[in-house]
Symmetry: C2
Subunit: 274 residues, 2 copies
């Protein structure tokens, strides 16, 4: 187990283990987005950084079939930031929240050596979808195409540039598809650490393995920060999901089936080390 997972593993709550924690009809999720771990300043504008930090958090709510309502924003502000920098950050948070109908209800800021954004999203649902609940025989699928984020990261690490709409800069959340699809799926989570790593978690929680239907290349398996949805569902629901996919113009691919056994990820940690 890696050091990061170790801390959380020490907490006994049954609410831990999903993209968000469910209390009544509320879902709480919290993700840290940190300079030198998740991004470098020269890779993205401050507007893009604020936007992505919000999206990676909203993504957890979407994966739980919860509609984000409120946000708390914590920011560690580097000492050399100007008022204009802060204005850009705040505006970008507000703009993205407005798009999603999310109200920023509080937060905390403090100064520090590098930029850290820690967001808590409070979302509402009457039917949360968890990571547990996968059945043997379930189809396992992901939305969209995967691999672009790692490709983008590699370009950046080679000092290349990415387009504004590149996956690594601006992930697309599949909320429109997933809120409709949720009634027909057994389990879900967002693809934050790569199909292989995230799938290994899904399998571990459900005490299952996978049989791959499609051959996925390493880029597809190990690309983190895709923020596509990973979900499992009974094969009988395939037509329904295909219909929702068409209606919402959101492609998905069934790439595996749930089987007895276990599955371990072979990918390396997807975050770069500065």
């Amino acid at each position: 187990m890696d050091k990061e997972a170790f801390v959380i593993s020490k907490f006994p709550s049954a609410k831990i283990g999903d993209d968000g924690a469910v209390v009544g009809e509320w879902v709480y999720s919290k993700d840290i987005f940190a300079e030198h771990t998740h991004f470098k300043r020269e890779w993205m504008s401050l507007e893009q950084i604020a936007r992505k930090s919000m999206l990676v958090n909203l993504s957890d709510a979407v994966a739980m079939n919860a509609v984000p309502k409120y946000a708390l924003i914590g920011v560690i502000i580097p000492n050399n930031f100007s008022r204009q920098d802060l204005q850009i950050l705040s505006n970008s948070f507000l703009k993205e929240c407005n798009k999603w109908g999310v109200e920023i209800i509080g937060g905390d800021t403090t100064s520090g050596a590098s930029l850290v954004i820690s967001i808590t999203i409070i979302a509402h649902t009457t039917k949360p979808i968890f990571r547990h609940g996968m059945k043997v025989g379930d189809f396992i699928a992901h939305t969209g195409k995967v691999g672009q984020s790692l490709k983008g990261l590699r370009t950046l690490l080679r000092s290349g540039k990415l387009a504004k709409n590149a996956r690594f800069i601006a992930p697309t959340l599949r909320s429109e598809f997933f809120y409709k699809a949720a009634s027909y799926v057994h389990t879900s989570m967002d693809l934050s650490d790569g199909i292989s790593k995230d799938l290994s978690r899904l399998c571990h929680i459900n005490n299952m393995g996978v049989h791959f239907i499609c051959k996925l290349n390493q880029m597809e398996l190990c690309s983190g920060e895709e923020y596509e949805m990973l979900f499992s569902f009974p094969p009988k629901n395939l037509p329904k999901l295909r219909w929702i996919s068409k209606k919402t113009r959101t492609p998905f691919r069934v790439f595996a089936r749930a089987v007895r056994g276990r599955y371990r990820s072979f990918c390396k940690e997807h975050h770069f080390k500065d």
Copy 2:
């Protein structure tokens, strides 16, 4: 306005401005506790750091007359941390939460250059106490004695040592007193930035000034991170509050009255700069 306050000031929500944000019967608060800004590693053990990071967050809930129920914990873990270090951190979070009946329901960890702890507390209340609502003539009071935290910080900055129970290491929250007192107060907040600075916020929100009854010295006025309660109440409730004070063995001091006018803090930023 300082840079830290500037970011939050850009968000228009009416829920912003108190120690926590109220949604229905839930109160949400979030505070960052960061190495080099709030503490140095050599000043406190990891156990003490985790404990204080939890207490400064629980303090916000108490100040809103809300009972903390759940916590989300975000940690940036320095690369050189051992498993034992992480075990100590986790145990300390758990121990403090158990004391308060708080369930840790989730969080996020990532690696970084220095230790950052970002906690979100979800607390329950049927009668939140806000910062607004002060009336002209209100008595303004604080619990306990103030000044010890700044004194402790100065000792640490001179490479001195503090006792385990020193205010700067282990603040005492006044929950027992305040949950009983809440029915008799108009406004409250916790003393995180010092009486002068926090009082200036209370006055600003209420568009009022203060008339000091007692002469407070600079140490008392400018000592941050006290986590005592600052509150205002109608003079007629003084006997009731004195009785609660006696019952809970929690001293408080009426040091000012609310008057028309305004009040500005003269204290410097209370955080040290590394």
